[in-house]
Amino acid sequence: MSNKIKHYLGDKDVQLILGTLLRIGVLVSTAIVIIGGVVFLSTQKNQTVSFQNFNPEQANFSSVAKIFTGLKAMDGLAIIQFGVLLLIFTPIARVVFSIFSFLMEKDYMYVVIGIIVLCVIITSLYLDIAH
């Protein structure tokens, strides 16, 4: 244990941009989910639905590529899933932004830490786990 305490102040501008980024990400993705929901319900609201058994083979839009294919066809579920994807990317964008802000502060240790976190997340994109 040492008695010397160093303190670091968060840059106010960075905090402000971060907060705005998160808010916009949530707002835009929710709006897209709502639009997709309206399209989906207007076409299939009276169909029966059951999720009692998990069928990964019948999964709707379970990859980024599939989502974009469905988007071209203006499929309601694909639009929803695109909004969900944006929501997932909001915190990831935050990590990327933090890396840049650490870079500007010349805090290279945290640039590296940020890149490690980003690499872990990117790994999860390519991780294909068997069921």
């Binding site: 949530v26 639905v49 929501l87 997932i88 935050r94 068997a130």
Partner: protein, 278 residues
């Protein structure tokens, strides 16, 4: 059940989950999963996928407000995210190898633990006399505004806190929850970070942790858009309204009532898992 009826029920349930989640500090996932599994007979795999999306939504939504206030410690968050993101992926991998019934039982136990954590007296453990060598090395010490004055704080037991985050991340990936209760234990009790800072930083981290496991769940086909749609819309609107009410209300009584409900749900989940009625 028709698509329309299913959507309306989940939308209302998710709204209540988001509202109570933001008022009591318990994540939306703890209500979403029982609602979907016990209430609507949805398979636990889909429920976990929907829940992880609700965790990201609430975390990003509330973090937006906290970050602006300058309470969140971005360095602590980023540093601990190394542990939570790696272990979240480990949690998702574990989930593919164990029986769904066991996952339901573990979820019930975590629910009991979260209810207990919600009710306990919150003691500020912060100690600013000393700090650890590692905390200095990783620049974790910081300051936050208290009544307009910047109050400094020191961070302790970095290794212990980091290890605790492995547990929190694993459970987050395994169950599709934010693991807020465990993250706060790691930061409050072990690292002795002041309460306000630990709560907001934990929330800040949750989104990143959940994003890592959400991508894996997406590929596994566990995120169904027909469920994710009402869950996302409901949770976000509930959490937004909850945050506005929170400023004006005392939540002690609500927490007590909510804890009773959560314990009841937890016991139901454990029973369901043990009897194989899942």
């Amino acid at each position: 059940m028709t698509v329309l009826l299913f959507t309306i029920i989940v939308l209302l349930g998710a709204f209540v989950a988001g509202l109570l989640g933001s008022l009591t500090g318990l994540g939306g996932g703890v209500i979403i999963i029982p609602l979907l599994t016990l209430g609507l007979g949805v398979d636990i795999h889909y429920a976990i996928g929907a829940s992880i999306i609700s965790v990201i939504a609430t975390s990003s939504g509330s973090a937006a407000a906290y970050v602006k206030e300058g309470i969140t410690n971005i360095r602590i968050g980023m540093f601990l995210e190394i542990a939570t993101t790696i272990s979240a992926i480990v949690g998702v991998i574990i989930a593919t190898y164990i029986k769904a019934d066991y996952i339901i039982v573990i979820f019930g136990l975590i629910l009991l633990f979260s209810a207990f954590m919600m009710l306990r007296k919150k003691i500020d453990h912060s100690n600013n006399e000393k700090t650890s060598v590692l905390a200095n090395y990783f620049k974790l010490n910081g300051s936050y505004p208290v009544d307009g004055v910047q109050k400094q704080y020191a961070v302790h037991h970095v290794v212990g806190g980091f290890a605790m985050m492995f547990v929190a991340g694993t459970l987050s990936g395994l169950l599709g929850i934010g693991s807020g209760a465990l993250k706060v234990i790691g930061m409050d009790n072990i690292m002795k970070i002041p309460f306000k800072v630990s709560t907001t930083t934990s929330n800040f981290m949750m989104g990143v942790t959940a994003a890592a496991s959400a991508l894996v769940y997406l590929h596994k086909g566990q995120i169904d858009p027909a469920i994710a749609m009402p869950v996302t819309i409901g949770v976000i609107s509930g959490a937004t309204i909850g945050a506005k009410i929170l400023i004006r209300t005392k939540t002690d009584k609500l927490k007590l009532v909510f804890a009773v409900v959560v314990v009841f749900l937890a016991l139901q989940m454990i029973y369901k898992g043990l009897t194989g009625a899942a």
